[in-house]
Symmetry: C2
Subunit: 169 residues, 2 copies
């Protein structure tokens, strides 16, 4: 088995976010998200069970995915990716909008977003595989979306050990 | 809702394949596949419930994902993507290898593959969301993997209506 072969799978880079039941906006970086049906449009996202945001998404029953563009700076990604929403308010110093349903969407270096209503979730080892119906989606800029490969090769980004597809270095 | 915003999500292009219980090698093209955990490595793939291959994967309990490289020709992709394994033997005129578990892996214009043991599946509207433990993965070439965007923009490929993320044209 050559686990580096898994780097051939394509991913984007997203901020999974929600408004927790106490009103706090929380978010974390995920790369494993995909549409699973077109009609009706629905999605699945894999998020580490230990992430504060994962629990908040399941409590609120709603989430957004902000799609990082290739212009996304490592600093922005790091704010959402390598710290816990339990410790800091990640949205505090960031530009964001709030959807009609009250969910936060990061707008810095983000080219689109998707908003979902959670329809189910399942424990898969270390992660929750969360499914949702897409209730809204919008483009925010014409920039190209960041790919996970671009993040590693061009942005020289790292992957935290809690990621769905951990890449060492 | 601007459903074209969903085009910002990143995908690859894969042949989902298996050895059916009658011994026949079957496969279809999917774009929605992702790793969901790193330790142990596991995956999820979304495949249309009407696809012959989807039923075969659930019967056999095993599947492979052959990762198309950017060099993949429309003709190769079309063979697996726009016809049914119920009607033709898609592997007949194609180069492929068979894994130790007896599963077929397309090798033409493919840069890597992943082999999985099915651990569960769920009906999500038109599709089955199939989960599997990764039991093997290998690189087959150093070419870059095809992205779904590259397929649409450069290869000028179409998407069948049964895809997880249908793009009109």
């Amino acid at each position: 088995m050559d686990l580096t072969a898994l780097f051939s799978l394509n991913y984007g880079l997203y901020v999974l976010a929600t408004r927790d039941t106490d009103g706090k906006y929380v978010g974390c970086v995920v790369n494993a998200a995909m549409q699973i049906t077109a009609e009706p449009p629905s999605m699945a996202v894999s998020s580490n069970s230990q992430n504060y945001t994962t629990g908040a998404v399941l409590r609120s029953g709603m989430f957004t995915l902000s799609v990082f563009s290739e212009q996304a700076a490592l600093k922005t990604i790091s704010t959402f990716g390598f710290r816990s929403s339990n410790d800091i308010d990640k949205f505090k110093a960031m530009p964001y909008i709030v959807t009609e349903s009250g969910m936060p969407v990061l707008t810095r270096e983000v080219c689109a977003y998707v908003e979902c209503k959670v329809t189910g979730s399942e424990d898969i080892y270390t992660h929750k595989l969360i499914r949702g119906d897409i209730i809204d989606s919008r483009r925010l800029s014409k920039e190209s979306p960041m790919t996970y490969n671009y993040y590693h090769k061009v942005v020289k980004g790292k992957t935290p050990k809690k990621a769905a597809s951990y890449q060492n270095g």
